[in-house]
Amino acid sequence: MYQRERERERERDYREEMARSTGKDAQALFHSLRSAYAATPTTLKIIDLYMGFAVFTALIQVVYMAIVGSFPFNSFLSGVLSCVGTAILAVCLRIQVNKDNKEFKDLPPERAFADFVLCNLVLHLVIMNFLG
């Protein structure tokens, strides 16, 4: 019985230590991510901001659908897909413009932006047709 108490104490200590270490890990992770992100150039940060906005809008639409119901399903789909689509295109633009990507080093950023605009145009034309 005495032994079991000691075992339980040891288990508790071990779990506390793990929790503390994962907590410390998470904090360290967060910090290093933050510091690494701060080093990215402003243009990329703008694209990231746009992407975050698009995803946020999509989430709001999904919450709205969950509350109100999905009756004109095509409208719901077109709304969500327009947000998701433009977020994806923003990510693609970011990939193509980022100077650290060696695969795209001879792609001029103007061409990448022109492609981005063209794809967004097509996306929104289709969305307008699909909105119903």
Binding site: T22, D25, A28, S32, I88, C92, C119, L123
Partner: protein, 677 residues
């Protein structure tokens, strides 16, 4: 045939020219440059002329039935397509898109605007309007008849560019030549076969080519183009499910084998989102991309890619691997949990519909025979025999594994794609005869790689011999290689002869392929099944036009609102040519209705009369081939009527019509058989 020998000559001629170059190098650099330019222009001229000849060849070889009989639409399904195209050109696009047809499926009618794939009709109507705009007074029927050969020619051009993307321009030319005359493709795209597949194979190959180009270049513009190609494919044929499953599978394979790159992300994501949105504009497809089980693989891979690349980005940002491992563990477990939960909830609650019978029978070939007799009854849906493969592919059948070998030797993103396309399509071609058509482009491309690589190796062996003669005088291109080859050659003096013998053997095989394809096209695939030919008593050829005569009799001698009951095979033709309302037709969307007709056909006359009265039937059409020895008439199909009717109405039992398990139609037939309608 001409095209192929020219391509071999081209390879040899273009390589002989640089050999002569080295000699004239001694004269002046200026003449060297002008000679080199001329060689490049010569090569371009050769390539363009070969491609032009192949284009014309692909068109011409499909015209046998037009020359022999007349320019008309073959088979059953094309008549429906023709009727809808006629409607489209007469009434315009909005009427077509919102058309409700009360002339077929008698009491129910059919929402044609929402239950067809408009790609073929819109394409033909567009060609018709373009020709009319240019003041060519063509009839829409001519355009419909010749749409399939025209698009077959376009497919050869796409095959050329695809081959060029995967391997090199030589392989592209050979692929174009192969696909121009391959019987597997000709079978569904002769002049007069105005069916979805004629346009769909072009769209399929185009989508695949544009996607591979997008993956190779990583540009958003090409991915957008491939999304449009996918849209065209979705509008043309139900087989687009193959694309939407093959491409995610390909992405998955690339991710697993570690060949992923940023270009893959750009290409797949852009194509998936835009393609999905565009595809949902077709009413027949509707919301299937987010609700049907067949399309879930694409969505799953889409989410997987987001997670994967996000992890990749975090790994790049973090410099410490231990932290990253922890993060990785958390993210991966949570992502898998969320994904599995979503999939499970969706499937269990029925929101995500399971695989439909048509496609499920591809995965489990025995499913249709037990559960859905209509799918099992179509002769095109039977498993393929070896003889069909040989008939449709000839030498490509053994060039296919050779091509796979070459692809594996030089693995790249593009060759992995073509290998996957080839293997999956060959599996499905083995399950259903009809799908040999889908496998044909892959087989042609891979065989073209084998042929092109082999012939290039052989001609380069030939070339080295002529180069060693001048290797000593100047440092020519690959001079050191030539000298080493020269020493090699001296030890094996028969290498050049062997190369020539192998080349001649290759030419012989290719010419046999061309002869076989032409023979097959002429004999087997050029008969319009609506006009039949037979041998008379004295061996003379008798052409009988009974089908069309019967339909025109219906058109001229029955009241305009008469309703005709027949087996569903003839439904489209009756509506198109007889212009009368039918009870069931080839669309086979309502199994119970067809089973009612089957039951009427196989019940005793009084019961059948009741059923026909309830359906308001005025005329019954049956096809009987006893007088002319025509073997695919309604007596032959009768057992299927029994099976399908029995599938819904257990009153009809198949053993009632058989004598000791045998199907007999003479005096010794079963009593129910003798007394039924």
């Amino acid at each position: 045939m001409v095209g192929k020998t020219e391509s071999q000559n081209g390879a040899v001629k273009a390589t002989a020219a640089p050999a002569m170059n080295l000699e004239s190098d001694l004269f002046s650099n200026f003449s060297f440059k002008s000679f080199k330019l001329k060689t490049k222009q010569q090569e371009l001229l050769l390539r363009v002329s070969i491609l032009g000849l192949v284009y014309i060849l692909a068109f011409i070889t499909r015209l046998f039935s037009v020359l022999r009989y007349e320019s008309m639409i073959h088979e059953f399904d094309p008549y429906f397509n023709y009727r809808t195209t006629l409607f489209l050109t007469e009434k315009g696009f909005y009427e077509f898109w919102n058309w409700f047809d009360s002339e077929s499926w008698y009491p129910l009618g059919r929402i044609i605007g929402g239950t067809l794939y408009p790609g073929l009709m819109v394409t033909a109507a567009f060609i018709y309007w373009t020709l009319r705009f240019l003041r060519f007074a063509v009839h829409i029927r001519e355009v419909c008849v010749l749409t399939a050969p025209f698009f077959a020619s376009n497919t050869t051009v796409v095959a050329y560019f695809f081959g060029k993307e995967i391997w090199d321009s030589g392989a592209g030319l050979v692929a174009a030549a192969f696909i121009a005359i391959c019987p597997g493709y000709i079978s569904r795209s002769v002049a007069g076969s105005y069916d979805n597949e004629g346009v769909a194979i072009f769209a399929l190959l185009l989508t695949f080519y544009l996607f591979v180009k997008a993956v190779n270049t990583g540009s958003l513009a090409w991915a957008l183009a491939s999304a449009f190609g996918y849209f065209y494919m979705v509008s043309a044929w139900g087989g687009y499910v193959f694309i939407i499953n093959l491409i995610p599978l390909y992405v998955l394979v690339l991710l697993i084998t570690g060949r992923y790159s940023m270009r893959l992300y750009v290409a797949y994501n852009c194509m998936y989102v835009l393609g999905m949105l565009l595809a949902m504009q077709i009413r027949f497809v509707g919301f299937q991309h987010v609700q049907s089980g067949e399309h879930m693989a694409a969505m799953g891979v889409f989410f997987l890619m987001q997670v994967f690349y996000f992890l990749d980005w975090v790994k790049y940002m973090l410099s410490d691997t231990k932290l990253f491992q922890a993060f990785l563990r958390i993210t991966v477990t949570s992502a898998i949990a969320v994904g599995a939960l979503a999939l499970g909830v969706g499937t269990a609650s029925g929101y995500i519909s399971p695989w439909t019978g048509r496609f499920y029978s591809l995965l489990d070939p025995t499913y249709a025979k037990d559960n859905i007799p209509i799918i099992a009854s179509v002769s095109e849906h039977q498993p393929t025999a070896w003889s069909s493969f040989m008939f449709d592919f000839h030498i490509l059948l053994f060039l296919f594994p050779a091509g796979l070998y070459f692809c594996f030797k030089k693995l790249s993103d593009a060759t992995i794609f073509i290998v996957m396309y080839g293997l999956t399509s060959m599996y499905f071609a083995g399950v259903m005869v009809r799908l040999i058509l889908v496998a044909t482009p892959a087989v042609c491309l891979i065989s073209a790689i084998a042929v092109s690589a082999t012939i290039k190796n052989l001609t380069s062996l030939l070339r080295t011999k002529s180069k060693t003669a001048v290797a000593g005088s100047s440092k020519g291109t690959g001079g050191s290689k030539a000298s080493s080859k020269a020493s090699f050659d001296q030890s094996q003096p028969f290498q050049k002869n062997g190369a020539i013998a192998l080349l001649l053997g290759a030419f012989y095989l290719l010419s046999k392929y061309a002869t076989h394809c032409t023979w097959v096209t002429s004999e087997a695939y050029s008969s319009p099944s609506i006009v039949l030919a037979a041998r008379g008593a004295h061996g003379n050829r008798v052409i009988f036009d009974d089908y069309r005569e019967a339909y025109f009799w219906l058109r001229q001698n029955t009241p305009p609102d008469a309703k005709v009951m027949s087996w569903w095979d003839y439904g489209y033709q009756i509506t198109a040519m007889g212009n009368r309302t039918v009870i069931v037709d080839n669309n086979t969307w309502n199994n119970t209705h067809i089973a009612t007709v089957g039951r009427a056909m196989s019940s005793y006359e009084d019961e059948a009369y009741e059923i026909m009265r309830s359906l308001d039937v005025d005329y019954v059409l049956v096809v009987f081939g006893g007088v002319t020895g025509y073997s695919s008439d309604d007596i032959n199909k009768f057992l299927w009527m029994v099976r399908i009717g029995g599938g819904v109405f257990p009153v009809i039992k198949e053993p009632d019509y058989l004598v000791n398990g045998d199907y007999r139609v003479d005096k010794g037939a079963a009593p129910k058989m003798l007394n039924c309608l």
